[in-house]
């Protein structure tokens, strides 16, 4: 378990004190995939570096399984760092060494026999799926392959925690997906706690169990992934979520006064959000259509699966009287569907 207690980190540049992280309290449970999302400069990279003390917090405690790393002597700290693997946006592979030697790098000079190192390296390369590149140099690999080597290297010392600092930000969408899948596998197969720093909401959507949203050095929202997506509280969280769904186009259309959203008298635009498999399977539109004799037309729709839970949204255009509208909204609320009137004529 990782516990960050009252962590603050100040940097002093040109005699000006800049606070990168402010009084952050976080508990990350064993075996979970924990995401930290924020725009660049939000302090998330600094925060994750506080976990393995690459950045020493100005104040606060970093407890790993109850032991405060801040109190440790350099030598002991280095031992603990072997239990915390880390991967980076720029992979940080050693260019003068082969894939094999990169993965073997953290194992050398630790009293591990050559045979054992070889065995471990080869099995790690198999785990990350690049056994065929053992003798290649990093410059001969693609971005995704480099990150796979980096993951194998980070796992070489059999850590219980893996820190990922924007690990997919330099990769294309397809490769990002495959790397996230690999991380999920690592998490499930080896039971390693994973902390992921990102500015991309779809990374969170893909694999995170819980999420902390950071802004200006503070954690502004902390919740499990499905709650973050279905019921975001902070404005920045809402912005992030909008960035991943095509529903945000709706706002643009309204702003641009597009003909699609030009309403005639009696017309409304609703946004319906539904959560869970039950709600998804119900033919809600058909039901309200026959029950209240209205004909909603679907403008946008979006369905996501987050932590194995279905999260759907619809934007519909209906012609309806005010009275009937109240009834329909009431009915939908009973069905656990969130209704928001985006625009009315």
């Amino acid at each position: 378990m990782i516990q960050l207690v009252d962590i603050s980190k100040d940097f002093i540049s040109d005699k000006v004190r800049v606070t990168a992280v402010k009084d952050v309290n976080l508990t990350i449970n064993n075996g979970e995939v924990f995401g930290v999302i924020g725009y660049s400069g939000a302090g998330k990279s600094t925060l994750v570096r506080c976990i393995n003390l690459l950045e020493r917090p100005t104040k606060g405690k970093v407890l790993i399984d109850g032991i405060d790393l801040v109190q440790l002597k350099e030598k002991e700290l280095r031992k603990y760092r072997q239990k915390i693997g880390m991967i980076f946006q720029q992979f940080n592979l050693l260019g003068s060494r082969t894939v094999f030697d990169n993965v073997a790098f953290p194992l050398k000079y630790r009293g591990i026999s050559k045979e054992e190192i070889k065995e471990r390296v080869l099995s790690l390369l198999e785990l990350v799926g690049i056994s065929d590149k053992v003798d290649a140099y990093p410059s001969q690999l693609s971005g995704g392959q480099k990150q796979r080597v980096a993951i194998a290297r980070a796992l070489a010392t059999e850590p219980s925690i893996l820190l990922c600092d924007e690990a997919t930000s330099a990769l294309d969408p397809q490769t990002t997906k495959s790397i996230l899948k690999l991380l999920k596998e690592v998490n499930q197969k080896l039971g390693i706690t994973i902390v992921i720093i990102t500015h991309e909401m779809h990374v969170i959507k893909e694999i995170c169990d819980r999420v902390a949203v950071m802004e200006g050095g503070n954690v502004v929202e902390l919740n499990d992934a499905i709650s973050i997506f279905s019921n975001p509280q902070a404005q920045i969280t809402k912005d992030f979520i909008n960035s991943t769904s095509n529903l945000s186009k709706m706002d643009e259309l309204i702003e641009e006064k597009s003909s699609v959203v030009e309403l005639e008298p009696g017309q409304r635009i609703w946004r319906l959000d539904f959560l869970g498999t039950e709600a998804t399977k119900e033919p809600i539109i058909a039901e309200i259509s026959s029950k209240y004799n209205i004909n909603p037309s679907i403008i946008f729709a979006n369905v996501d699966v987050i932590s194995d839970t279905v999260l759907g949204s619809l934007i519909v255009l209906v012609t309806i009287s005010e009275q009937a509208e109240e009834q329909v909204i009431e009915y939908l609320k009973e069905k656990q569907i969130k209704v928001e009137v985006i625009k009315y004529a």
Binding site: M86, N92, G95
Partner: protein, 226 residues
């Protein structure tokens, strides 16, 4: 061969044994001062990089001392440096003339240049690699040897090549003020007695040396770059 030499390089033929001896002296100066400068320069250059602000063994004082000394000695023209060093040279090696007396000032003249080169080569290492090594729990010494030095071998080979070529230039200059070697040989005969053939043949010899140094350097760079 002999008849060709009598025709084109008559003077050189007269001073042949001295010519061969001078080449030997030049090589002796190059190797001895080169090895010392390499070891000292690599050590101090590395210390300079790791003690720089924000680096793994940050120490402003050590960094500033090395940095200032490098700047000081780099700014003194070598001919003047040799002269200025005479008392120290005498103290250290017992004499300030000949090959023996030239090696000490050559080390002092060459090392600061090499320190700067090492500094540049090591500073080229991506800070991300250092961070990654730290995250794996490597000690500062481990980072120095296994990341800084190992990863910058191509850069260091390039620096060493450049430094060796410029050191070759310094050995010739040493000849001007009482040292031995080709420099001294050319000044005595090519310059003072205007035996032009001696000058030109010496130029060719130096050119061959530079080519060999560059060739070896390039091979090492090529073998170690991936």
């Amino acid at each position: 061969m002999h008849s060709l030499m009598t025709q084109y390089t008559p003077n050189l033929l007269d001073y042949w044994p001295e010519f061969i001896k001078s080449i030997g002296e030049t090589l002796q100066m190059l190797f001895l001062s080169g090895i010392y400068s390499f070891v000292i320069g690599l050590f101090l250059g590395t210390v300079m990089v790791v003690t720089r602000k924000g680096n793994i063994l940050e120490n402003v004082y050590i960094y500033r001392i090395i940095d200032s000394l490098v700047n000081l000695f780099r700014s003194i023209p070598f001919v003047i440096l040799i002269t200025a060093l005479i008392p120290v040279t005498k103290l250290v090696v017992g004499t300030f003339i000949g090959v023996k007396g030239a090696i000490f000032p050559l080390i002092i003249g060459c090392t600061p240049f090499f320190i700067r080169q090492v500094d540049m080569a090591l500073s080229d290492i991506d800070p991300g690699l250092i961070e990654a090594a730290q995250s794996m729990g490597l000690s500062p010494l481990g980072i120095i040897f296994r990341v800084y030095l190992k990863e910058s071998i191509p850069g260091l080979a390039r620096s060493t090549t450049i430094t060796t070529v410029s050191l070759l230039g310094l050995t010739a200059m040493g000849g001007a003020v009482g040292g031995g070697g080709l420099g001294s040989f050319v000044i005595r005969y090519g310059h003072n007695r205007y035996y032009q053939d001696i000058t030109y043949v010496s130029v060719i010899v130096i050119l061959i040396f530079v080519t060999i140094i560059q060739f070896i350097g390039n091979i090492i760079i090529k073998k170690t770059s991936h």
